[in-house]
């Protein structure tokens, strides 16, 4: 009921009070730094992916390593799509955005690990493993932000991981195509995440917004 809702709201506010910088500057700095860090991490991963993708596409060979190679998106429907209508993106709230990010990276990480298993050279495997670790870090970072903002973590989608299996149906070319799209989709998601977290960061920067955020969160 309303009374329970009011009580919960009050409790939440009271619980969050120490987090308000105006009240306690020396305590938990709130989600701000972690959002900034997550943003920086997306930038860093972007940077990291650029060199990894270059290496990997060269490994795949032409035409995948050609700059203007832009194949149609075939057979990779299971990959989370980062591209979204601007209006739709704007309409998303923070929780939804964070949840989508989290879910997308969870999937992508899963696919990437598969990619790593197939990689031919040790150097490439090392790079992919490192990137996986970093992506794992990003996931943790998003989870941290969500936790800081009080959002529950989305439940892992059952069957997501097992679905990615290099089936014999795939031809070698199609397999490479999948790899290509995986890297491309990763890149797109990192761009999008950077935007998301930049937006969130800007939103979080004024200290007073902490309370507002929670009120908004309550409302959500």
């Amino acid at each position: 009921g309303d009374s329970w809702g009011m009580l919960a709201c009050l409790c939440t506010v009271l619980w969050q009070l120490p987090a308000v910088p105006a009240l306690n500057r020396t305590g938990d700095p709130g989600p701000g730094p972690s959002i900034q860090k997550t943003y920086d991490l997306t930038r860093y991963l972007e940077h990291q992916l650029r060199s990894l993708a270059g290496t990997y596409l060269n490994y795949l060979g032409p035409p995948f390593n050609e700059p203007d190679f832009n194949p149609p998106r075939l057979g990779v429907e299971t990959l989370p799509k980062a591209t979204v209508n601007l209006e739709v993106w704007r309409s998303l709230n923070d929780k939804l955005r964070l949840t989508q990010n989290y879910e997308a990276y969870s999937h992508l990480l899963c696919y990437l690990r598969g990619l790593n298993r197939q990689a031919a050279t040790a150097e490439l495997r090392r790079s992919l493993a490192h990137f996986c670790t970093s992506l794992q870090g990003l996931l943790g970072s998003i989870a941290g932000v969500m936790a800081a903002l009080g959002y529950p973590l989305p439940q892992p989608l059952p069957g997501t991981e097992p679905t990615w299996a290099p089936g014999p149906a795939h031809s070698d070319f199609l397999q490479k195509m999948d790899d290509f799209w995986l890297l491309k989709e990763l890149q797109t998601w990192l761009w999008r995440s950077a935007k998301d977290f930049n937006r969130l960061k800007k939103k979080m920067q004024p200290p007073a917004t902490a309370v507002t955020l929670h009120l908004e969160a309550r409302g959500f």
Binding site: K37, L41, S134, G140
Partner: protein, 918 residues
């Protein structure tokens, strides 16, 4: 290792004990605990339990157990027998130990046997690691280090643990040789916080450090930037633009920079203000640099928020700023060289190259302008730093500018005065002194306003000419140092010339050393004069090349061979010194040292000997002695001369004149007193005028005393003889024959004088030799000579007699000597015979040893002929073979001794018969 050792030992014991009882594997006893690591300072107890079988076999119980650590038996106080089979040992407060503890039994009361052993190791549990810190070098994996705390003495493992909130990372086990650090296996994931701690574990415990949580990006140490270029600007000579490439991190973190620069030769760095480089960038323009100067740059970077570490410095890169016009006019001076042409001067203008910081670029050339008073100017463009021009004797003004790519310097102006210009206003109180390894020059400015000063200096040397170096100082400067490569131990002649508007002032000079040293050689001392008690030493000043400093004083060391050395200090201006109070006739060794402020140097040693006598001392002794002797002699002679009467009285006492005796007067038979001198042989008054020659033929014994006196006498008379001998012919008359002469003059003289002097002619020949020269003795008789004109006739007579007789050597002798006179025709034989007879008569008288007065007077009266005839007889009495001389010499002695008569007279040979013995 220890474990292995322990097992070997145990195996050995087991083998030993089991073998002895014929069984395998089963040990005789065991210790609890099996092996032990004991904490330092704690108590430790071990229990040895014997097996029943052993106890039975060896008949031992726990009482027979004793413990050993190594080879040392543990004291029994530490044992405790628990029961029949077990015995324990306790070590209280255990120290640092790593030893074998053995359980032993004593079998049959005397055989000791080890039955089991364990190793005890003591140590400490690990301390909680402190100061855990991590660093991520760009491109490398994370490395963490910590402070492990105290030494555990045990094998301790350190494990670095790291985890994310959602994930654990692999442990990082520190290596044995680096137990204080570990580098993780995984690449860092930036922007995700990581939790790191370290766990330390050993046999005594396990402890973890505090956990640290950080983002690896905050622990990163970036790679240093790489400087791409250092570019100068043509527009601004004071800037350089630095460009570099950064770490890849600049795309996702903000960087800040640290830029340092210095000139190429400098050692300290200048810092670009940090606030100017606090954000990510790839270039920077450094300002306020000097023109045409090479600068060296370096750069480093780190995360902008200051978290993490500064990168290493980049490699250095250098660049040169662009040129600017020379900032200062060159130093400018001149030298007038002697010129042959009349009315002109050869002037060498000279200048210094500008130092780089004033040249501001590469000097292309110099422009010299010479302006004669109220006349056109001449321009010269010179690449060198000197210009020689011929000028008239007028006043000139010279200007000099240096030119580089950008522009010209200000002009140096120098007035070359007319040839008859009198320089004035020198600087005063000119001083030069070394300090901090350079030679400082200090002066007091003249009252006039000085444009600048010119300092010139050169090395003073005997070998090399003075080649001056020079430098210019501003008119406000009163102290500077010589900017040249000065050398120690060289004498520098420094000249300071003030320069006024109308020309140079009078120069002032001073000598100085950069650093003095002891002279390289000592002065060579020598004697100038050596006296009995003093010596004048002299030396030359040291050559300037050997001085090595200002000679402050000399020291003269002198000593005898045995004596102590004496040192005398002498002022350096002297070149001569007199050593006094020396000992005569002594060898002295003298050397000399010259001293500068820094020390002295001995010269070679010089030896000299003082003479025994001073100069003139011998003369001073000898001359007075000689003079004294001479004076004494003279006085003696004078005395003798004055007192000759007295002496005569002593030597030749007066013989009374018989003619004046009373008897003579009294006797009625006294012959008439006056004879005609020519006709009367023996005039009355001349009775005593008789020379008596006593010839002693028999007795040859000489009487030295009388002989001597005779010789002396002879000598004295020698000189006068010749003079008194009258004409040459008359000398022949001085025969040994005594002669009696009488004359009127004799008679008259007889009256006036009571004494009669005589003259003796001695024919001196030695032994059988015939004297070649007649020796005459002559008295200073006052008695008038007998009439000598007639005497040659007497000789003539003798000659004749000789010739007639032909037997008398004496006569022959006379004949020889007088042969030249034999021909004298004008002398009557008669007179001659008269004289000879008188002599002979006298001889006769003497031989008969009769009283002279009595006997001689008689023959006179009796007759001359008789006496004359007796002459040969007289001669016959003589030995004849003996030399005449001897006979004559002995004559006087015979008279004195044989007759016992006083020295009333000496026998005389009468010369010419004109003298009479007395």
């Amino acid at each position: 290792m220890f474990t292995l050792q322990t097992w070997i030992v145990q195996a050995l014991f087991i083998f030993l004990t089991t073998e002895s009882i014929g069984e395998l594997i089963v040990p005789c006893a065991h210790i609890h605990p099996e092996s032990s690591v004991v904490q330092l300072g704690s108590n430790f107890t071990a229990v040895c339990v014997l097996k029943e079988k052993c106890m039975n076999d060896y008949h031992v119980t726990a009482n027979e157990i004793f413990w050993k650590t190594g080879r040392v038996t543990v004291p029994y106080e530490q044992y405790a027998v628990i029961n029949r089979t077990a015995s324990s040992v306790t070590f209280p407060n255990i120290t640092l130990i790593n030893a074998l503890l053995t359980c032993n039994i004593r079998m049959f009361g005397q055989i000791n046997r080890s039955v089991y052993g364990i190793r005890i190791i003591s140590g400490l549990p690990p301390e909680k690691p402190k100061n855990l810190s991590c660093i991520v070098n760009e491109g490398k994996k994370m490395m963490c280090q910590w402070d492990p705390g105290r030494e555990t003495h045990l094998e301790t493992n350190y494990t670095l643990k790291s985890e994310w909130a959602t994930e654990k990372f692999d442990d990082c086990k520190a290596k044995r040789d680096t137990p204080t650090s570990c580098t993780v296996d995984y690449p860092p994931v930036y922007f995700v916080n990581i939790e790191v701690w370290v766990e330390a574990e050993n046999a005594l415990g396990k402890v973890a450090s505090d956990h640290i949580n950080f983002d690896p990006i905050d622990k990163v140490k970036l790679n240093p930037p790489h400087i791409l270029s250092v570019n100068s600007s043509k527009e601004l000579s004071s800037i350089l633009k630095l460009t570099w490439t950064d770490s890849r991190f600049k795309s996702f973190i903000t960087l800040k920079y640290d830029i340092q620069y210095r000139t190429k030769d400098a050692s300290t760095w200048n810092q670009v203000p940090p606030e100017d480089t606090s954000s990510t960038r790839s270039s920077f323009t450094v300002q306020d640099l000097k023109p045409f100067t090479e600068y060296v740059f370096r750069i480093r970077c780190m995360k902008e928020d200051g978290k993490g570490y500064w990168s290493d410095w980049s490699e250095e890169a250098s660049g040169i700023t662009y040129e600017d016009r020379p900032s200062k006019a060159p130093s400018f001076w001149y030298k007038i060289e002697p010129s042959h042409a009349h009315g002109t001067r050869s002037v060498q203008l000279k200048w210094k190259t500008l130092p780089p910081f004033e040249a501001n670029g590469k000097i292309l050339d110099y422009e010299v302008t010479l302006t004669k008073w109220k006349s056109h100017s001449q321009n010269y463009t010179v690449k060198d730093t000197k210009l020689t021009v011929n000028l008239t004797n007028d006043r000139y003004v010279a200007t000099l500018t240096a030119r580089n790519l950008v522009g010209k310097s200000d002009a140096s102006v120098l007035t070359i005065p007319a040839w008859d210009f009198q320089a004035t206003h020198p600087v005063t109180n000119l001083k030069a002194f070394p300090k901090d390894n350079v030679l400082w020059v200090e002066w007091t400015a003249p009252d006039e306003s000085v444009n600048r000063y010119i300092l010139e200096w050169c090395v003073l040397s005997d070998k090399l000419p003075c080649i001056p170096e020079w430098q210019q100082e501003d008119g406000t400067v009163h102290r500077t140092y010589l900017r040249g490569n000065l050398v120690e131990k060289k004498c520098y002649l420094i000249t300071v010339t003030p320069v006024y508007d109308d020309g140079p002032g009078s120069p002032e000079h001073i000598k100085a050393y950069l650093k003095q040293a002891a002279p390289s050689k000592g002065p060579t001392v020598r004697t100038k004069k050596v006296g009995k008690n003093e010596a004048v030493l002299e030396w030359d000043h040291l050559p300037i090349d050997a001085q090595n400093g200002f000679i402050r004083n000399y020291t003269i060391f002198y000593r005898t061979v045995i004596g102590n050395e004496i040192a005398v200090n002498v002022d350096s201006s002297h070149t001569e010194y007199t050593l006094s109070s020396l000992t005569s006739d002594t060898l002295y060794m003298v050397r000399m040292a010259a001293y500068t402020d820094e020390g002295g140097k001995d010269g070679p040693e010089f030896t000299f000997t003082t003479p025994k006598f001073a100069q003139g001392e011998i003369e001073a002794i000898v001359v007075p002695v000689c003079l004294a002797f001479l004076l004494t002699t003279l006085l003696g002679v004078l005395f003798c001369f004055n007192k000759r009467d007295l002496i005569k009285k002593h030597i030749w006492p007066n013989v009374p004149d018989p003619s004046k005796s009373h008897i003579a007067q009294w006797s009625p038979h006294t012959p008439p007193r006056h004879f005609n001198s020519k006709d009367q042989m023996y005039p009355d008054g001349n009775f005593t005028d008789v020379s008596v020659v006593e010839i002693e033929a028999n007795d040859k014994k000489p009487f030295p005393d009388d002989l001597k006196s005779l010789d002396l006498f002879k000598k004295e008379k020698v000189n006068t003889e010749g003079h008194s001998s009258g004409i040459g012919g008359s000398s022949c008359m001085s025969s040994s024959r005594p002669s009696i002469s009488s004359s009127d003059e004799n008679e008259s003289a007889q009256n006036t004088s009571s004494t009669v002097q005589y003259s003796t002619v001695v024919h001196s020949g030695y032994r059988h030799q015939v004297p070649s020269v007649q020796v005459f003795s002559r008295s200073e008789s006052t008695q008038p000579l007998l009439d000598s004109e007639e005497r040659p006739e007497d000789l003539q007579l003798v000659d004749n007699v000789d010739g007639s007789d032909g037997i008398l050597p004496r006569q022959r002798y006379f004949k020889q000597n007088c042969s030249q006179h034999e021909t004298s025709p004008d002398i009557s034989h008669f007179e001659r015979s008269q004289q000879v007879s008188s002599v002979n008569e006298e001889d006769f008288v003497r031989l008969k040893q009769q009283q002279i007065s009595d006997h001689i007077s008689q023959p006179y009266g009796s007759g001359k002929m008789k006496m004359f005839q007796e002459v040969p007889a007289v001669d016959a009495f003589g030995p004849g073979i003996e030399g005449q001389v001897e006979r004559f010499e002995t004559v006087g002695m015979e008279a004195a001794v044989d007759e016992g008569m006083p020295k009333s007279y000496l026998p005389q040979t009468v010369r010419r018969g004109g003298y009479m013995p007395q």
